[in-house]
Structures are given as C-alpha cells and as structure tokens.
Symmetry: C2
DNA sequence: TCCAAAAGTGGGATCGGTTCCATTTTTGAA
DNA sequence: TTCAAAAATGGAACCGATCCCACTTTTGGA
C-alpha cells in the first residue's frame, strides 16, 4: 500500500503538501494539487485511517450507547444516526446494553466505547442510574444525551415532551367519550414512562375521569413485559372501554391478545399506543398512537454532538413535541355496557 | 493521558515489558506484572487504541454492509452481530445502503467501510449486483457474505435454505386443504425472494395444485412495497383461500388490509409469512410463518469472519434450515366458497 | 555444582499520517 | 519598479503503541 511519502515523491512535492492537499486544510497551489492528484490516482493511494487518527488525535468515531435493541424504537434511532454520521464521514460504533445485568455491566458497555477513543458519545438513557453513566462518559468524550433532561447538561439533552404526549392521549380518549380508561405503563422507574403516565393520569383527572388504581398496570417497554402486563390487566376484574399503552409494542401485544379473545378493537375496547414506530400503520386495526418525533430527535442529538465535537454548525433542536396520530384502533364509546365472552365487563 | 512510557517509568521496567503485559503476548515475570499493574492503576492508564492499531496493523473494526435497515430483519442481524463482536472485543461499523440510488452509491457505502481500514467485512446481499461488491471488498479485507451462496466464496457464504422454506409453506397450506393459493413475492431479482417463490410454486404443482399466474403478485420486501402488492392482489379478480407472503412484513401489511376490509384471517383467508421476525407472535392473529434462523446465521457468519480475520476458532455453520412455525393466521379450508364483501370470491 | 534451554527484559525502530516552522515564492498596491 | 504581506513549501518532530533483537536472568535435569 502506498503512503504519503510515495505520493510526495512521485508528485515531486513534500509530504506536508500532500497532507494539506488531502485534508483540504492549508494552501496548495493549483500546480502541486494537480501533480498530487495524478500521483494519488496512479498509486491508488488511500490514506491510512489509523495513522491519521493517531497523529490528528481524532478517531472520527462516535459511540452510541443504547439500553436495548429490541423492537423498532431504538432501531429507528440507530438508522437515523448512522445516516447523519455517514453524511459527515464519521463512523458509529454501538454498545447495546440489553444483556447487562448490573450497573457495572452497563458501565462496562460504556467503557467498551470509551476505550475505543470515540470523539463523542451519544447516550440514550431513561433510567436515572443510566444517566449516571453520562457523568462518567463526559470525562472522556464529548457527550450528548437522549430521552433525558437535566440542567447540568444544558444544551446537550434531547427529549420529547412526554407530559404533553400523555395529555394528548387522555384528551383523545375522553373526546371519544371514554370515561372508564385503563392504562399499561412502562417500568415506572424509567423517566419517560413515568412522565407519560403521570401526565396521563393528571389529565384524565382534570377532565373529570380519574383513573382508578384497579385500571393501572405497571408493565415494561418490551414484548415480554407487555405480555405479562397485558395478561395481568385481562385477568383482573377491572372494566374499561379504552386502554392507553405506554408504548406501541405493548399496544401491539394488547391488540393481539384482545383479538385472541375475540374482543373487538375499537368496537369493544379502544387502544392507543405511544411513539408511533414503524409498524403502527400495519397492526390490525392500524394503531392510533402518540407520534413521537424519534428520528428528528435522534438527528438533532447527532447534529449537536457533531457540532460540539468537530466545530460544525449543523441545525438542531433540543426539545420536541409529540402529536396525536389517529388511526383505527380508537373509536367512540357509544356502545352499551355489555358482558364480555369471559364474563368480565369490558365494553 | 498517560502513555506506556509513563507506566514503564513508574513501574521501573521497559516499555516492551508493559506492552507485553497488556497484550498478554510474550512473557512477563510475576514481579514485573505486579509493578506494572500498580502503575497502570495509579496513572489510570488506558492504552490508546489508535496507536495500537497503527503499529499492530489491525483496527479491530468489522464493517457490516446491509442493503436496508427497515423492519426487523436486518435489525435482528445487527443486534446479533454487535453482541458477537463485543464478546471478542471488536467493534462494528455499519453502512446502510438503503438510500443508495445506483450501484456507484452502493459501492460508495462499501468504500466508507473499506477506507476505515476494517479488518473484516460482512456483507448481507441478495442481489446479484450487490454480490459484485463482495468481489471488490475481498481485495481489501477478509470477507464473509450472508444470504448468498457461490462456490467462489466457499466457506464464507452463510445462507438459509429458501428452497426448503418455500416448500414448507406450500405443504402447510395444502395440508390445511387450501387449493386456490395466492402469493405475494419479494422483488424477484433478489435471490432469496426468487428461491422461496420458485420452490413454493414447484411444490404446489407437485402437490397437484399449481398456482395460476393470476394469483401471483410480485412485490418487494418493504412496507411500501408490501402495501402496493397487497393492493394489487386485492384489486385483482383472483380468488384464493390462502396467501403465501414472501416475508413477514408483507404478511403483516396483508393482515392489516384484510382486517380493514373485514375479511377474517384465517376464517376467510389464511396468511403465511416468511422469516419469523420479532413481531410475528404479536400480529392479530399471530402470524404463521417459516422460521428462518436469522440470528443463528448472523452469529455463524460473524464467527467465521472472526476466525478468518483473527485466527480464532469459534464454532460456525454455513447452511441453515428453516422450519414451519404455525400460529393463528393459517387455518383449514373447510368453509364453502362465498362471496366477499367487495364482490370477489375470496373464500 | 554446572550449564543448556527457557523465560524475561530494555529500548530502538517502526507504523503512516499531521503539524509546526523556517524559508521561498507569489501577489498586488503604491 | 518595489516591497511588505500572503501564499506555498519541504521536511523534521511527533502521536503512542507494537515488535524485534540482542542480552540477562532463571530454571531444572544430570
């Protein structure tokens, strides 16, 4: 493989000139530039990225830490980030902490990124304990956090207004005439799950239809967690005409389970999700949900990280608002109270 | 940041000894080892990965090229690969070519990996044109290919027996009594889509129920492609009691569309998918499908790439067999021929 | 006790770029 | 035409590891 020196010799210039030509920093005369270009072509020269990184003290690597890669949510994030980084010639390295059992494990995943000398790190965190990781990472790299807000990291937190999201869901259901509403939350130790939930409850109460505890099930934002929570809700004696699910995965699981029991959606029970991930148009029925601008948020976070790290000036925005996305899984509560096939009151 | 020299000085040994101690190659006395360990601790030393890469001529980076990141299929792959690499202390860098418009674009995505000096490259390719990329990449790195088989790359191709998969689908439907069967394929220029399709047709014919052309729609393995193809099938005058979909995304779209038209699955029409991605248990009804061992295949490909690249001896397997996974979207064809709501014969 | 083989060691050369700096060349306003 | 400022240049020093090699120390069987 050819090196700068080979190129310099063939072009009849110094190695510094070649380096300047390639990186575009500093000035090179038209004549030298042409000679260098020809030499590069002729030798089929490609700069060695490790040597470049070593001497320039930048790896052009951005580390991305995610708590899980199950389901479409984080996938949409990764997809967006990969694309934004590629446009800037940077590379993403990924640490998926879903197999971590303890906080030490999660830290080890972070070290896996830090030890690689990332120029910047992007953490998607919704647990307080995970957020501690941000403090740690900050010592080593430029840092940006998604799904979490704190004043300590002002200007480097990117989040969606889950309070508003929870309220939009409540308003939508109440507008449709639902008064007996159940909810399956995410794990309430997670900030985003809690925010959605608290706002939802608050708004329901404000609208005159407080959600009674029997209609609240704490679940988790995973398929397995959703299954458990759905089973718990359906096994309970609670009656309701609509269910607000903490995310779309759980809503999907719920719809599947209701279908299995021949409970019609939205005829018997309305279901609303949260996030508006990839698959929401294709559940049966198509899922009404709170649209969270995941991709926009991811892109913004990525842009700002690039700005901080490489002095770019890419556009970004820290705060995003969700919106209501009505499809077919919610309908008006016009039917009479009726007995469910399994003996519970569900309509 | 401390360097090997600092550590060596503090420990009172030579830099070579420190290097040997850290990498675990070569021998270091117990006494020196302890001194070095103490010095590392004290200085909070972390080896610089760029310097290490430059001098050892290995980046510990594995490039992964995928044609798309829409839907769960490639995500399951990425997730598996990230995990397998992390276990070996390697890092994945990703190039998603779904925004590529031309072959030059796809090549540019590959160069994005190659220019980063990956030690190895993993290509998931099902188009012949994409496979040409493998030839190119092979010049620069160790290479392994998924979803494609060719004798030229013997021992480095990992694939699932789509011929068998197509046949399993056909047998399942025929066993349930379906004789008028429709199919929505993937883009037939893709090898995997074509193999599934051809085998399916062949097996249906062998079983005495050849699929007539009116019941065949060429689609694509994307949500949008699925929507178009589903619309085309439902708009046609074809009648059928079951549909074989080339992958699960298309099957999901079909179920959603049938639900919209109040056509019952599997009451009126049975639907079977292909791949058995993450969401298949949670469609309504749960999707019967051909289980493709995506994760096992991805892990094997990854293992073999690691073996080739770093001289490891991780277990792997080149060929995988799919299996039938029966859930609730397929049922026996016991009902009488009946008129569909929209005037077509569908049962 | 002796001595060949094995284990352990220090440090310089090297990987292939970038960056700095002293020097030369070019530019364009007076 | 003149000359200060700006542009362009070559090459050495450096980034921080690995690896090789010549040399010293330890080991253990006879």
């Amino acid at each position: 493989m050819a090196t700068v020196k080979d190129v310099a010799k063939l072009a009849g210039v110094g190695s510094g000139t070649v380096s300047r030509y390639i990186s575009g920093t500093g000035s090179v005369s038209r004549k030298s530039g042409e000679k260098i270009a020809r030499a590069i072509e002729q030798l089929n020269y490609r700069p060695n990225s490790m040597a470049r990184s070593l001497s320039s003290r930048r790896s052009d690597l951005i580390g991305v830490w995610v708590p899980s890669l199950e389901g479409p949510y984080y996938h949409m994030m990764i997809r967006t980030i990969e694309s934004a980084l590629r446009l800037q010639g940077k590379h993403m390295i990924l640490a998926n902490a879903e197999d971590a059992q303890s906080n030490e494990d999660r830290l080890a995943h972070l070290d896996y990124l830090i030890n690689r000398d990332c120029d910047g790190i992007l953490i998607s965190s919704s647990l307080q304990s995970e957020f501690e990781l941000a403090r740690y990472a900050e010592k080593f790299s430029n840092l940006v956090v998604m799904n979490h807000h704190t004043d300590e990291l002002a200007g480097r937190c990117f989040s969606i207004d889950h309070d508003l999201g929870g309220r939009l869901a409540a308003r939508h259901l109440v507008e449709l005439g639902h008064t007996r509403v159940a909810t399956i939350t995410g794990r309430l130790s997670a900030l985003d799950a809690r925010q959605r939930h608290v706002a939802f409850l608050d708004e329901m109460a404000k609208l005159g239809h407080p959600v009674v505890p029997e209609r609240i099930v704490e679940g988790a934002f995973s398929y397995a967690g959703g299954e458990q929570a759905v089973a718990a809700l359906l096994a309970s004696s609670a009656d309701y005409s609509a269910v607000f699910c903490g995310n779309d995965k759980v809503a999907m699981v719920l719809i599947a389970e209701l279908h299995k029991r021949s409970i019609s959606v939205p005829g018997d029970v309305s279901v609303i999700g949260y996030d508006d991930v990839e698959f929401t148009p294709y559940t049966a029925p198509a899922l009404s949900t709170i649209h969270a601008p995941i991709e926009e948020m991811s892109q913004s976070a990525c842009h700002q990280l690039l700005n901080l790290t490489y002095g770019l000036e890419l556009p970004y925005q820290e705060h995003f608002e969700p919106s209501l996305s009505v499809r077919q899984s919610t309908g008006s509560c016009s039917l009479q109270l009726a007995q469910c096939p399994d003996g519970r009151m569900a309509v």
